[in-house]
């Protein structure tokens, strides 16, 4: 088992290692390098990389098997990755997977005998407004129906497949977007475009004229709250960094957007990366960090490309590097690609992953602000949060506070998906009623359908029923309604949606994404998935509903991170709010919706059976 690495490979690997405080942090990108060089990650490749980086091969193997996005030697030339998570499933994603499976004569996870195709069902690709979506290798294909799927297969077979960047779109509303204002403009991702609209002025002003403490104070005053899910005040988080600590400080931009129903950071990354970089400059200055990392999810191959180019452009202009804007301040930005693990969106899981490990969350305290990346003070901020900073600095606190509510100021990019007429990104002031978003802005539900349920903040949020949609969409109002704003992923479900199947889909996601560290989450998510599978497929028992609720209670608050809670919250709320539907599944020993031929959330296996 020995593989000769080329000098070019070694040089690239060494350059990667040099970008991190410790060599092993280069492990994830090193596996990507193997992918590029050898087409997949092989055992020989892992052993060679382990030796070169200076870690045990077992460590590399543990890391490799944790992440789902690396290419395996058994994968075909074209990986057809169908999103199977709820927002896509609501719009036919599972049917699409079934169709492709039938077309290719293989089941998900299998490769065609000619080695051309591997079909995979994958979890949320953060492209929910373009559902159902498909990723062919690294390239997204939007709104794929059986006909377009067939066409893709044929074009690949005939060698005429050329991936195209899907067109971007944002629904227009009476609310003028601020963060998303320029994303549809031609060349919006270039540094020249950004400079032409006044870009990098704020970062320059901050670095040249403001003290870090002043920046922190200003952001505190602005009331900006984290846009990644938890809604923690950004300035306060920065304030926890011990300024006097002799250790290096790190800023990490969380671009691991994976919460089902959320697809905003993808847009900001791909279409306005310089705004994000300017945000990084401001935040890094505030905490006096000289190394920033953008942890971008593995599926965003194009986004990573755009960001890297943007970083290079900014560096070439002298905005990044040894003397940012000519000032005596150094900042290096490294774009670090993940590899397919939802848990790496959790800030401590992200940090562990960035250190070159399986993405295991860490117990808090110590909080990352005090002890994070390689035990140094670290701030992890979401893409959208960072993108707000140039605007707050440029327009002032009063301007920012004009939008939204007292406790949730500013705009928020909501991601409307599922059964709405106009799915897409809606940048809105915080505090608008959910009803207005669904009916007035997103055009309501498809004709002839009625609203049944809404998940207001990504699939980890508790579900709201049709009677609860007058709630205001801000952090505190949603908390009062026993759910959460989360990442702003609004998943709308109509009256034909089987809630049992919807929950099964959600729980399958958490089962798939549980890191497996803590017992209650590792075992509980799998258990719930299996119970829901039985309920939906006609093998439910009356006592199962009670067991689901009990198991949820036994998971909540008992684990290192909140993934267990994130699985339990939707589960409990859906069972409690739609109990009769569950009881009907038990009583009828099957799915009433399927019997009526109404469901679109059909899992592949069943779809195959039905045909």
């Amino acid at each position: 088992m020995s593989l000769q690495l080329t000098q070019g490979f070694i040089n690239e690997l060494e350059a990667l290692c040099a970008r991190y405080p410790k060599r092993e942090a280069a492990l994830l990108p090193a596996l990507r390098l193997l992918e590029q060089e050898f087409g997949s990650v092989t055992e020989e490749g892992m052993a060679a990389v382990a030796k070169r980086i200076g870690v045990s091969p077992a460590k590399v193997y543990g890391v490799f098997t944790f992440y789902t996005h690396y290419r395996r030697p058994t994968d075909g030339k074209y990986l057809l990755q169908v999103c199977a998570t709820l927002p896509c499933a609501l719009r036919g994603g599972l049917d699409l997977a079934g169709h492709l499976g039938n077309r290719l004569g293989i089941r998900p996870g299998e490769t065609t005998p000619d080695g051309l195709f591997t079909l995979k069902k994958v979890e949320c690709l953060a492209n929910c407004d373009k559902a159902p979506c498909l990723q062919v290798n690294d390239d997204y294909v939007d709104v794929v129906n059986p006909e377009t799927a067939d066409e893709i297969v044929e074009r690949i077979r005939s060698g005429t497949w050329k991936p195209e960047l899907p067109p971007y779109s944002i629904p227009t509303t009476k609310y003028e977007p601020i963060l998303l204002k320029h994303v549809l403009e031609r060349d919006s991702f270039t540094v020249d475009h950004y400079l032409a609209r006044g870009g990098y002025k704020q970062a320059e002003r901050v670095i040249r004229t403001m003290k870090p403490a002043e920046v922190i104070e200003l952001v505190k005053q602005s009331g900006l709250r984290g846009r990644g899910g938890a809604g923690f005040p950004t300035g306060m988080k920065w304030g926890f960094v011990p300024a006097a600590s002799p250790k290096p400080k790190y800023l990490i931009c969380n671009d691991d957007e994976s919460e089902p129903g959320t697809f905003k950071d993808k847009m900001l990354t791909e279409r306005d990366p310089h705004r994000v970089i300017e945000g990084i400059l401001i935040a890094a200055w505030a905490i006096q960090s000289h190394s920033a990392y953008v942890y971008i999810r593995g599926e965003f191959g194009y986004g990573a490309q755009v960001l890297r180019r943007a970083v290079d452009e900014a560096a070439a202009k002298g905005f990044l590097g040894a003397k940012c804007f000519g000032a005596d301040y150094r900042l290096d930005v490294t774009v670090h690609r993940g590899a397919g693990a939802y848990i790496c969106g959790e800030e401590t899981g992200l940090i562990t992953s960035l250190e070159g490990n399986r993405g295991y969350p860490k117990i808090k305290p110590p909080f990352p602000a005090v002890e994070g990346f390689f035990r140094s003070p670290t701030i992890v901020n979401n893409v959208e949060t960072l993108a707000c900073l140039p605007l707050i600095l440029g327009n002032g606190i009063d301007w920012f506070r004009k939008f939204g509510t007292e406790k949730s100021p500013g705009t928020k990019i909501f991601c409307l998906c599922g059964h709405v007429q106009r799915p897409g990104l809606y940048e809105l002031p915080l505090g608008l009623p959910l009803r207005e978003m669904i009916y007035d802005l997103a055009g309501g539900l498809p004709e002839g359908r009625a609203l049944k349920a809404v998940i207001p903040g990504g699939s980890s949020a508790a579900v709201l029923t049709v009677d609860e949609v007058d709630v205001k969409m801000d952090f505190d109002s949603l908390a009062a309604a026993k759910t959460m704003l989360g990442s702003g992923g609004v998943i709308v479900m109509d009256d034909r949606t089987c809630m049992v199947e919807a929950l099964w889909n959600i729980l399958r996601f958490y089962h798939h994404e549980s890191c497996g560290q803590c017992t209650p989450c590792r075992e509980g998510t799998g258990w719930l998935d299996k119970i829901l599978a039985r309920l939906e497929t006609g093998r439910g028992r009356p006592e199962d509903l009670g067991i689901v609720l009990e198991v949820c209670d036994e998971m909540v608050g008992r684990t290192i991170c909140v993934l267990a809670d994130a699985a339990a919250m939707p589960a409990k709320s859906i069972v409690q709010k739609f109990r009769p539907e569950f009881e009907a599944h038990v009583a009828q020993q099957g799915c009433p919706f399927k019997k009526n031929g109404q469901t679109r959330t059909v899992p592949v296996e069943l779809a195959a059976e039905n045909r």
Binding site: M1, S56, Y61, G62, T519, E554, G557, I560
Partner: protein, 523 residues
């Protein structure tokens, strides 16, 4: 020093002490799987949840640092429920194959399930399957039993520093594994079997060889090197089945090397000496006759550093009674001293009691080994020789074997048949280290008790008995007493043992002060 209250009782702890450690040290048991005192905590099994005054949630006590005035509650209906819940979770994908599991009877899953009366599961789904496979020459994993506590992975990273183990896959498919083609194969590998809290990692050598509840467990000390790791020997029907580590912070922390664990096969070897050739009377009368004929110094001795303090003490007396010069010292060194990243040490000296030989005969004498004896035999000064050896496979020097031929008389007290015993006119089978009581002094001058674990072969006799009978026959001793009483003599004779007896040595031994009187050289 922060003061914390554990179940209402105030105790003082070192700053930064983790709550679980504080509880265990205060004698309050908190169940746990992933926590191990010799490894960095992981906080993943969630079994050690307790209530702390600073938090509304239950907290994993293994990761919760004690701060001043912290109140820790380790029991209560909600805590017990949380632990029962964790146990149910742990067992849903577990095969419950206790009847054929090697760990049965010493399994923390069984024990806590019993404690918390978690007898019924609500789980009716199909269980996940994870493979049963070899992980290395000594170790096999039953994947289905693994609870992914990562103790073994942390051991290989932190203690052995070899890093062969990892967790592969994610969620409830996660399991411990090795990199394909790179087995776990290091000098400390079997420690991972010791610390596996369930029946996942199994020592292939012990597999299906004993139900532990029928077996005996004896606390003793390993004789494989001069480190003297504290050990626990499992035996059944008079046969040793396995040796595992017994914690002793001053010697071996929680660990033991694989060689030490395997160093018992010779005890039941077919090559064991089990019938006497000649008697102790023949030995003493022949020796006395040689001294009478050739004078002082014509009878010599060889003693190995595998012998106990008591045996060496009596052997020194025998040498004195026979007017012999200082004996040759048989030692066994192999390789270099190995220090592992976790601080564990394997000594190059492969015998357990060199320190006491140095105490009796001096470092120079021990260094000299058998050289002077060989010279004396070759020079015709030594005509008769008494050899006392306990080293299983001693490195007899060729020159010594050649010198044997020149002796008029050779008596051997040994455990295994050897070229030396083949040449002897008197052969008195001795006992292996696991067949006797006694004391070893380790490389750090710590006196530790060894215990009789299994009976010696039929024809063998305790060395302390043989030596005392010889001394009685020579008129140099009144009576034959137990090894414990002989140690009492040692305590009176050697200042560093002053005041010590078997009871005081306890389970973990006693660090010895420097000897105050000068080393007693040869008479």
């Amino acid at each position: 020093m922060p003061k914390v209250k554990i179940n209402g009782k105030e105790v003082e702890v070192a700053p930064g002490t983790l709550a679980l450690k504080a509880c265990l040290e205060a004698g309050v048991f908190v169940p746990h799987y992933c926590y191990h005192p010799g490894l960095t905590p992981a906080g993943n099994c969630r079994m050690c949840l307790v209530k702390v005054s600073n938090s509304r949630k239950l907290e994993a006590s293994c990761m919760y640092p004690c701060t001043d005035h912290l109140e820790i509650t380790t029991e209560g209906p909600d805590i017990d429920k949380a632990r029962r819940d964790v146990l149910e979770f742990l067992l849903i994908n577990h095969p419950l194959d206790c009847p054929i599991c090697d760990k049965s009877g010493e399994c923390a899953l069984q024990d806590y399930t019993y404690t918390y009366r978690r007898g019924v599961s609500r789980f009716v789904e199909p269980k996940n399957i994870r493979p049963t496979k070899d992980l290395g020459p000594n170790i096999k994993i039953w994947g289905n039993r693994c609870i992914v506590c990562t103790r073994c992975v942390r051991f290989c990273e932190e203690i052995s520093g070899t890093g062969e183990l990892c967790v592969v896959n994610r969620g409830d498919h996660a399991v411990v594994d090795v990199f394909p083609g790179v087995p776990i194969d290091n000098p400390l590998s079997l420690n991972v079997v010791d610390i596996c809290p369930v029946g996942a990692l199994i020592d292939k050598n012990f597999l299906y060889s004993a139900r532990v509840w029928f077996a005996q467990e004896t606390k003793t000390v390993c004789a494989t090197c001069s480190r003297g790791c504290n050990a626990l020997v499992t035996s059944l029907d008079g046969r040793i089945k396995r040796i595992v580590a017994r914690p002793n912070a001053a010697v071996n922390q929680y660990w033991m090397c694989d060689e030490g664990r395997r160093n018992f096969e010779y005890v039941a070897s077919k090559r064991r000496l089990d019938s006497r050739r000649g008697t102790f009377e023949e030995m003493t009368s022949a020796a006395r006759a040689i001294v009478k004929r050739y004078g002082s110094g014509s009878v010599g001795g060889v003693v190995s550093t595998y012998q106990t303090v008591e045996e060496m003490h009596l052997f020194a007396k025998l040498m004195k009674a026979l007017e012999a010069p200082a004996p040759g010292i048989l030692t066994a060194e192999r390789g270099a001293r190995q220090v592992f990243p976790g601080g564990f040490v394997i000594e190059a000296d492969k015998t357990p009691n060199r320190a006491f030989a140095v105490r009796l005969w001096g470092e120079a004498s021990v260094q000299d080994g058998l050289a002077r004896v060989v010279t004396d035999i070759d020079g015709g000064r030594i005509k008769g020789l008494i050899v006392l050896n306990g080293i299983p496979h001693p490195p007899w020097p060729q020159a010594f074997l050649a010198a044997m031929e020149k002796l008029e008389f050779l008596a051997v007290i040994d455990i295994l048949q050897s070229p030396v015993s083949d040449r002897a006119s008197v052969v008195l089978p001795g006992t292996a280290w696991a067949e006797k009581d006694g004391v070893f002094v380790n490389v750090d001058r710590r006196a530790q008790r060894i215990h009789c674990v299994v009976p010696p072969p039929a024809g063998a006799r305790l060395e302390v008995d043989t030596l005392q009978m010889a001394l009685v026959a020579l008129g140099a001793r009144q009576a034959v007493v137990s090894a414990e009483t002989v140690f009492g003599e040692c305590a009176r004779e050697y200042s560093e043992f002053a005041g010590l007896d078997y009871a005081k040595l306890g389970e973990h031994g006693v660090g010895l002060p420097e000897a105050t009187e000068s080393v007693s050289a040869a008479p």
